[in-house]
Amino acid sequence: MENRAFLQSLFSKYYRENPNAIQEPSRIESREFGFLLFQGKVMIRHRRFETVEELRDFMARVGPSDAYRSAAYYQRPDASMDEKGWLGADLAFDIDADHLETACQKEHDSWRCLECGYVGRGKAPERCPNCGKSKFKESTWPCDVCLSTAKDELIKLIEMLEDDFGFSADKMHIYFSGHRGYHLILEDEEIRSLGQEERREIVDYVMAVGLVPELHGFAKESTKIPSFDSPGWRGRIARGVYEVMHLATTPNGRKELKAAGVRGKTLTTLTEQGENIINMLENGKILKLPKGVGEKTWKKLLLRGAKRRAVEVDPVVTIDVHRLMRLEGSLHGKTGLRKVEIPLTRLEAFDPMEEAVAFDKGELKVKIVVDVPKFHIGQEELGPYRAGKTETLPLAAAVLLLCKGFAEVHRD
């Protein structure tokens, strides 16, 4: 049987047997729903469901590869975009490992140039080193390190939303996306009516875009600077630059300083005399920067500090007030894992490759078509597998490889 048809029947069966897997979005009747199908990869949009039962019934009948619902509320969710009657939208954040730099990307991610077929590892470059074109097919992997890096970002985001913006934790819904990241949806009357521009300001705040350290009291030499425990970005910049200076004085310091944009002689000065700046930071006063370290360099260090404390979210998701988000509880078409809600208290211990597994029973024989890195699903350590081999795998692992296109259903 062809892969897609096989997956569709499997997804459909899953939804039939586990109707309650689909979580009911709040105010379901005001949400727009959208679906991607396995056959033909068509997007069905502008659907409306009065009750969660209707929705569950649809999922079981159709077995879509991916299911989405709007973060927005509409008067007529099933009307065309212009006639929907926008009533407001929750504030949504998407943290995806694709947007983060992790050391392991080179090991498990790859890309193929669509023009000449050249293959490389890690993130796709801007242009192909072989032919110079810039169209690639990228293949990523939901690896443990990437996912835990994404989780660290999520924790920073939660702290910012609570401390700076004053949102209470019980209004935040946190989800594993089913693939390589996390979603946070904030349902709060206060922000529902915010438009794109206002949301952009929130995104820029979170990502430290357009941040000017001078406006936070990091003006010139010889002045008192905000203490580490100052609220908002003040304290964050102070802690961030302290961290940067600590890293700068370690054996690997040059790398951190280069990332800050420091070059040449200044770089050496800072690695050697960084201790001085650290002392000044601890005393909350920048008396005199070392010779050769000017105000421009100081600003670079401050901005680097801010960057370390900023949260890497996908800005478009938060800004777009008509955005469709993956439906909570549904299966992800690229992994066969579920998008699941995580109680805030359990976030630290949450392991997506264990708790988001849908197909936890049975085995399946598949033919590996692309090399697969080592991974784990549930309690089981699996791989690596070589292309061309036939393997009998736990169903969840087999589905993951089928969804990723790393394997094919084995035909006897």
Binding site: E126, R127, G132, K133, S134, D163, D164, F165, G166, F167, E190, I191, S193, L194, G195, E197, E198, R200, E201, I202, V203, D204, Y205, A208, V209, G210, L211, V212, L215, H216, P231, G232, W233, R234, P315, I319
Partner: protein, 349 residues
Amino acid sequence: MEVFTREDWAKYPFLPGASQYLRELGLGLPELDRPEYRPILDRAEERVRQAILRGKVDPEFFDVDLEAFSFVVALMLVSLVGNEYPRRRYALAEAERARVYLAGEGVGSLLEIARSIGWRIRKVDTLKEARDYQFALSLKDYLKNSVGFHDLRWKLVNRLVHGGWVYITSGEATRLLVEEIKRIIEERAGRKIDGKVPEGLQAKVNQIRALLSEREVGRVEEVPKGVYLEHFPPCIKNLYNALLGKRHLSHVGRFTLTTFLLNIGMAPEEVIKLFSSLTDFDERITRYQVEHIAGERGSRTKYTPPKCETLRTHGLCVGADDLCRRIKHPLTYYKLKLRSAGRSKAREG
């Protein structure tokens, strides 16, 4: 909380309390034709006329009730004229008038005014909380009123934000209040008027319409044709140089450059030629895209470049120069540069 006086209603006739007060005095549409109300009609017309001609309503007044009443009548007048331009213009001018009075208010009065128009705002304990600020404003009210400002100090990321409060000074509170007032008035001046319009008011409507069409003549702004590289804003210059240097441009980068060049009057054919310098140039696709953006194909929408805010988010803003700080859109930068270049040329000649 009743600290407002009749004089306050004259100064701030857009406050909900003022509407309440005027309703209690009882004046309806039909009464407007009575001779004793003539001064109200006249002052209402004057308000709108000053708004259109000078962008500010004269703040001085002699009769307290007349001043407050004439505001309500002016709102009807603007609504009946029924055009977006005078409505925006009027809202702005009334907000400017209010600014004059707000500037003279103390912390206590500002707080009362802000609260009466629905803000969630509180006084700041300057000793314990934050030395340099007088108020803490809710995140939502701050964002709603500050997104239009583009000086970097108004950006949320450059503010002290804590526990859902944005800290602001009295001066900043005034500035934000003016924005809110502008919005309130624009909304109210857009409301439909029910009932028969009294003759006297209709006459004023006609006068204002006449004034508007008089000013319409000769106001068509011409965009000079021709491409002046030296007037490009820094972001566009950077994209343009990247293109010439055969460096890679992101999708948004290409879109920005294309829309910019088309909007300043470069012919689609020339834009295509320019892009042909790229190594992965595919003339058929480029032609399709450029012509689509130019509005010659597909949805026939003519696209404009993204505004500064968007460019900043996409990392295409390469750092603002002095002129950038005053504008929100790369095309405005170009137009202003052209205009000032034109002026100095005129002086030379």
